[in-house]
């Protein structure tokens, strides 16, 4: 088991190295340049001075090797547009994204699994139809639009919740204040993530419910609810875990949009700003952090498979 984990982590390290190379060369091939230099009003002499300060007048390969050398020593470089160390920027923003992402994931998982069970239990009856209509909506509605609609409804019209931000300006830390700010963005993000979980839960449950041991349980006279929750659900969990692994990775891309709409001080907005402003070291930093996150989540999901289904063994 330990050997397996070590092996997977080493593979992950290689994956990250490849991500860094591909990202570095792709963003440098893209047209444009850091907005501190490539600015509509900058003159050539202003621009050249800034590019020189950041060593951007050197060939791409030299710059990559230089970056790699520093990264190996734990230095991810300095933001070209913000002048702060990339590691510091990532640290400042990661907490907010984690807070938003984990809350949304929790809401989406609980909501998705409950609705999925409901849909499976009442297959082809009205609760199933309602749930599938909701999922279709969640798939179809773009997050930024839903975000603006809920802001107008809950913040502007009803005035129940704040319009944006992670916490109130200048306020002492307060869990209530945090939750009030979290409510809208986390719900919208969860709503867009949920459909996949609902559908997989429902179909996995239906699949398992047709198996021999479920029929046997029914034949033994076990109460239907017990059959569903004890016999069927536990065995339907593996595909649900698999989709959770996938959802966790799209969580990040979803939060890019949601963070912009809700003025959330997270990595998603940092990534957008860095991409628009061609802030190469920041783009690399965010990409690597996201990559590392995906590697770890996948490993955890694989380990959970084994915990849920004893037939799966990692050796």
């Amino acid at each position: 088991m330990t050997a397996y984990i070590v092996r997977r982590l080493l593979q992950g390290f290689v994956v990250l190295l490849m991500i860094s190379a591909v990202t570095f060369f792709l963003i440098n091939l893209a047209p444009g340049g850091p907005s501190s230099a490539v600015n509509f009003t900058s003159t050539a002499s202003e621009r050249e001075a800034v590019l020189k300060q950041y060593g951007l007048d050197r060939p791409v390969v030299v710059r990559y090797l230089d970056w790699l050398g520093h990264a190996a020593r734990g230095d991810l470089g300095t933001s070209i547009n913000q002048g702060l160390p990339v590691a510091k920027l990532l640290g400042q923003r990661a907490g907010a994204t984690l807070e938003l992402g984990l809350t949304a994931l929790l809401l989406a998982t609980v909501g998705g699994v409950v609705l999925g069970i409901l849909a499976a239990a009442f297959r082809n009856r009205w609760p199933d139809h309602v749930v599938s209509a909701l999922s279709a909506l969640g798939m179809a509605i773009p997050g930024f639009w839903l975000g603006i609609v809920v802001i107008i409804l809950f913040a502007v019209r009803l005035g129940w919740l704040p319009t944006s931000g992670v916490f109130s300006v200048g306020a002492q830390f307060s869990i209530v204040d945090r939750l009030r700010h979290l409510a809208l963005p986390a719900s919208v993000l969860a709503f867009t993530l949920m459909p996949n979980i609902v559908r997989v839960t429902r179909s996995a449950l239906l699949e398992v419910s047709r198996s021999d041991y479920v029929r046997t349980a029914h034949a033994k006279g076990v109460r239907p609810r017990a059959v569903l929750l004890k016999h069927t659900f536990k065995n339907a969990l593996v595909p649900v875990l698999a989709i959770l692994g996938l959802v966790t990775t799209v969580l990040f891309s979803g939060s890019v949009v949601i963070e912009s709409v809700f003025g959330w001080a997270g990595l998603g907005r940092l990534a957008i700003e860095a991409a628009n402003g061609r802030d190469y070291p920041v783009i690399l930093g965010v990409t690597l952090l996201a990559g590392a996150f995906v590697v770890v989540v996948n490993l955890v999901v694989d380990l959970l498979y084994a915990a849920v289904d004893p037939r799966i063994r990692h050796g």
Binding site: T43, A44, R47, Q53, L84, F144, V166, G170
Partner: protein, 534 residues
């Protein structure tokens, strides 16, 4: 500039007028002695709290305007230079230097005294240091260096006459504290200053900077002027334009500048909000690359402008918020603006005639051609504001007279790389936002072609000479005369095709008081006068 008596007189009068105005507003609001209330503004990203740091642009400009005093600021009545950290100034008779007399008793927010050394440091070590690439530093290229005459007097020693210097000193040109930044390897990249707590002389200073969330300002007790009347100013980071307006409607933000007039629908009828139309020295243009021999014929440039129905574009794309441009000097510069120049009213038949005179006649497929080559123009455009829509309309108008236009829509940063950095375009539509000075040298001079802000790469020795003459004028009458000749010259020769002067639309919560209405950058230079209505 200006005779010795001119600016002196004006700079002495202005503080008196300002004092009268302040006295008036104080009695009107029954004198609040302790600052109270909070004003909240939006910004679209983390600001950089140093006006000269490359990359400190739109997200930082207004905050920095509050924090950093300048030598001059704009008068709230006519946008001429008014006293700020300098109380008066005069040019030498030979126009080769300027003396600025500094305000006495000014302190930095860390308690240290402000003086001539700070001004000399800001110019000699920061702006004129070419290695730093400071924002906007190229406009100060006529300045050789700044000399300290005495602790409260500086002399700007010039390489060539520079009558518009006091205007540029009011344009996002904050003075930096020498004692804080002079030992830094790069004074523009001091994180503890730029991203946390800068030392300033303005009416407010930074109380809290929460990255990604907001910057909170509080009154600066060491401020040289009357103490601010507002207790807290917050700049919230909200990048999405729709969310910004939603926040304005919810009352959680007090002011938003609307760049896209179509978004105004929801706010125009809100009883708490006031929609203000302001004029700034902004002009939109089409540049025709002068490296392309087809566009060096002035008749072709005149024809292409005559073919565009600018009024119709203003009505559709700008929802009427704008006026047809006649040149680079906007009507708000009342003393200098000349409306009596060739104006190229929409006339497609006339456009075709002019092109025929230049040798462009309709080919078999209806496309104009000359020597067997069709008149095909590639026109890159960037995704920013309404540039794409306006470009597509220009394409249609040109198509109507037989010009084949290939529009290439690009992401904004990539567009800048192609058009501004590489000058790789034939025609393109964009705008300049300039200080309210009649000095147009940065956008038109031959020296600014290829490497500077002369995007069309237009080179005219005649225009260069006129602009140099305007810069050496020593009184306003002479300057007005030259500037009128310049306006005639550019309207005739069309280095740029002048399109329109857009109105800037600011939506303000009616509870905000004391804010100058002339335009936003100027309003933020007088933040000490703001108050929150009860």
């Amino acid at each position: 500039m200006r005779t010795k008596s001119g600016p002196r007189w004006k700079s002495l009068m202005l503080p008196m007028l300002a004092a009268l105005a302040i006295a008036g507003s104080l009695s009107a609001q029954a004198q609040a002695t302790t600052p109270s209330g909070t004003l909240t503004f939006v910004t679209n990203a983390d600001p950089t709290l140093n006006p000269w740091t490359p990359g400190a642009v739109i997200e930082s400009n207004l905050i920095n305007t509050i924090l950093f005093d300048q030598l001059t600021r704009y008068s709230t009545t006519d946008l001429t230079p008014a006293p700020d950290l300098a109380t008066s100034w005069e040019a030498a008779p030979d126009a080769m230097s300027w003396i600025f007399h500094l305000r006495s008793g000014v302190k930095w927010s860390d308690g240290q005294p402000f003086g001539a050394d700070d001004v000399a440091f800001t110019f000699n070590k920061v702006i004129l240091n070419k290695d730093l690439g400071a924002n906007n530093s190229s406009v100060f290229s006529p300045v050789d260096h700044v000399e300290v005459v005495d602790p409260l007097t500086v002399r700007f020693v010039l390489k060539s006459p520079f009558s518009s210097l006091p205007y540029y000193l009011a344009y996002f040109a904050g003075i930096l504290p020498a004692h804080v930044l002079q030992d830094a390897p790069n004074p523009l990249q001091v994180a503890s200053f730029n991203k946390s707590n800068p030392v300033v002389t303005g009416p407010f200073k930074v109380a809290e900077f929460v990255t990604g969330s907001y910057v909170r300002l509080e009154p600066n007790p060491d401020y040289w002027g009357p103490q601010p009347k507002v207790k807290t100013i917050v700049f919230k980071e909200v990048s999405d334009a729709n969310t910004q307006l939603a926040q304005l409607l919810a009352g959680s933000v007090d002011m938003v500048t609307v760049t896209n007039p179509t978004l105004l629908a929801g706010v125009e009828h809100n009883p708490n909000l006031e929609v203000i139309r302001q004029s700034q020295n902004i002009w939109y243009w089409v540049a025709l690359n002068q490296g392309d021999p087809r566009f060096t014929d002035v008749r072709v440039r005149q024809a292409l402008l005559t073919a565009i129905d600018r009024k119709a574009i203003i009505d559709s794309v700008l929802k009427g918020y704008g006026t047809v441009a006649t040149g680079p000097i906007a009507p708000l510069q009342k003393a200098f603006y000349d409306a009596n120049v060739p104006s190229y009213a929409y006339d497609p038949a006339k456009a075709k005639e002019l092109l025929a005179e230049a040798g462009w006649t309709p080919g078999p497929n209806g496309i104009l051609q000359k020597d067997g080559k069709p008149l095909t123009i590639t026109m890159p455009t960037g995704q920013f504001g309404y540039l794409v829509n306006a470009t597509l309309l220009v394409q249609q108008y040109w198509k109507a007279i037989g010009v084949d236009v290939k529009v290439n829509v690009m992401e904004w940063n990539a567009y800048i790389q192609e058009v501004v950095v590489k000058r790789n375009y034939q025609a393109t539509l964009a705008w300049w936002s300039t200080p309210p000075t009649p000095d147009i040298t940065p956008y038109f001079s031959s020296a600014a072609a290829e490497r500077g802000n002369n995007i069309p790469n237009y080179k005219s020795p005649e225009l260069d000479a006129l602009m140099a003459q305007a810069r050496s004028a020593t009184n306003q009458q002479d300057e007005i005369k030259v500037v009128q000749t310049i306006q005639q010259n550019v309207a005739q020769n069309l280095p740029y095709l002048f399109l329109w002067y857009p109105d800037i639309i600011t939506v303000l919560n009616k509870r905000v008081g004391g804010m100058a209405t002339i335009n936003t950058p100027t309003a933020f230079q007088y933040a000490a006068d703001w108050y929150v209505k009860p």
